[in-house]
């Protein structure tokens, strides 16, 4: 929770998904999500933590409005802009870095855009095409694109997976800078408890499929002043909790 931003400036994100199922090719019904409910306020960062394949991405797609076939209701900030970082960068290969960002955010002021590229270390890559970028750079462009629209709701689907540790840590710092600057509602999906403990104000723990809510844990210390020891303590607490619930403690 971020005290620098008055609550109520825009509506919270309220998620209630009673159930979500897929029909497999074999005809059987595959339960994916089972009774998940949580609320995030402005400036708050929520992290959905759960084992691979438990339905985290499905959850995000439902919240993003890409999948409407579920029982339940999602209340998003009304007319709120949405920014999303998919698991893959999903850039348009035939447009430059600059154009990729400007296509979704035509209203952004040139100096604001320049500042955003500066924060993400992309200033020298604006004229490049995505095919000329490394994966790490492409992920940063995807982050820049999501922030450029000035979202009220920011959805991140494992944005740092498959990056090396040092780069992931740097990008996490950049994300924190941006989240604090723009005061958005952020929902991060990850299977990395440490990442969640470092970034989030609230941890939403999911079980293996069909995903149920195991816990909704707020973290009291603001993330800016969280020490490595506190992050480790949160991680240990979550791990203990998972073990107590009979869930796999190592999520990968």
């Amino acid at each position: 929770m971020n005290d620098a931003h008055p609550a109520g400036a825009f509506a919270p994100l309220d998620v209630r998904v009673a159930r979500k199922a897929f029909h497999a090719a074999s005809g059987e019904r595959l339960e994916v999500l089972d009774d998940i409910a949580f609320t995030l306020r402005q400036g708050e960062v929520g992290a959905i933590v759960g084992p691979s394949g438990c339905g985290k991405t499905t959850m995000l797609r439902i919240i993003a409005g890409l999948d409407r076939d579920y029982d339940g209701a999602i209340a998003r900030p009304p007319d709120g802009k949405l920014g999303m970082v998919f698991q893959e960068p999903r850039l348009l290969p035939w447009r430059t870095v600059d154009d990729n960002v400007r296509l979704v955010a035509p209203a952004i002021a040139p100096d604001e855009l320049a500042a955003l590229f500066e924060v993400l270390g992309l200033a020298g890559h604006r004229a490049h095409y995505p095919g000329e970028l490394s994966l790490g750079l492409a992920r940063r462009v995807a982050l820049a694109r999501a922030f450029a629209v000035k979202p009220e709701l920011l959805l991140l689907d494992e944005p740092f997976v498959s990056l090396d540790q040092a780069l992931a840590a740097r990008l996490r710092d950049e994300l924190v800078t941006l989240v604090d600057r723009y005061a958005v509602i952020t929902l991060l999906v990850t299977h990395d408890i440490e990442e969640a403990a470092a970034l989030a104000d609230r941890l939403i723990l999911l079980s293996a499929r069909p995903a149920r809510m195991l816990a909704d844990l707020p973290i009291a210390t603001p993330r800016r002043s969280r020490t490595a020891a506190e992050v480790a303590a949160v991680k240990a607490q979550v791990t203990d909790r998972l073990v107590a619930l009979g869930q796999p403690a190592v999520m990968a």
Binding site: F86, Y129, G131
Partner: protein
């Protein structure tokens, strides 16, 4: 470039030797044909007929590509449209060009509209099939991206969909251009008072091989120019984002 010139020289040499063996009447040499091209150009006949054919090719091509792209895109994206359109497509694909042309002339009279429609209908199913393949291969991830970021429809079409379809459009255009001009000649031969096909029909009655070759080569030169000055620059522009080997 040197290799291409050598290949061209080999072609001309083979032609020349062939004409020596077969005799000027059956296969006139390159010089005779070139002289005929120059003579036809001087009289203005050549440009009249080339122009008529080119106009028909352009109209039929544009018509077939526009309709083909729209139908192909719809069939690639909407399952019901695909199910409904598929039997029609198979019928059209397997209907001989000659049948379409003759029926068009019988039903529409020996008119310009009937001629151009007949050519366009012949090309249409190929364009549909190629563009449909492209529409089926569209990346759903990029569609989701466009939806999440609330891209307006026309913008998504222009920046997300059309660049993905561009290679398929180029393939359909290239095979289409050659197909269309061949069919235009048949249409002209059967029911038009001008154009390259008409001239070749007259030359056939007179057994004038020189004239047949002169008109065919002149038109091939025109198509080659279109390929080099229009199709290739378009392709280069459309693929400028691809990494080139350094």
């Amino acid at each position: 470039m040197a290799l291409r010139l050598a290949s061209l020289a080999l072609f001309l040499a083979t032609w020349y030797v062939g004409s020596l063996i077969a005799g000027e009447r059956m296969l006139p040499g390159p010089d005779t044909v070139l002289a005929a091209v120059v003579a036809e150009a001087r009289s203005g006949e050549l440009f009249l007929h080339l122009g008529a054919t080119l106009a028909r090719v352009a109209l039929a091509f544009l018509l077939a590509m526009t309709a083909g792209a729209a139908i192909g895109y719809l069939m690639g994206r909407v399952r019901v449209a695909d199910r409904l359109g598929d039997p029609w497509l198979i019928v059209l694909l397997n209907l001989p060009a000659l049948v379409i042309i003759v029926l068009a002339y019988i039903w529409g009279g020996l008119t310009e509209i009937a001629a151009i429609l007949a050519v366009a209908i012949n090309k249409l199913p190929n364009a549909v099939v190629t563009i449909r393949e492209g529409a089926r291969a569209l990346d759903p991830g990029l569609d989701d991206m466009a939806r999440v970021f609330a891209m307006p429809r026309w913008k998504a079409l222009r920046h997300v969909v059309i660049p993905q379809l561009a290679p398929y459009v180029a393939a359909a255009a290239r095979s289409g251009l050659s197909l269309v001009w061949k069919i235009v000649l048949v249409v002209e031969l059967l029911g038009r008072p001008n154009g390259v096909g008409f001239e070749i029909g007259v030359a056939f009655q007179l057994f004038d091989v020189t004239r047949i070759l002169a008109y065919a080569l002149a038109f091939i030169a025109v198509i080659l120019a279109i390929e080099i000055f229009l199709v290739q620059p378009f392709e280069r522009r459309a693929s400028r984002w691809r990494l080139r080997p350094a």
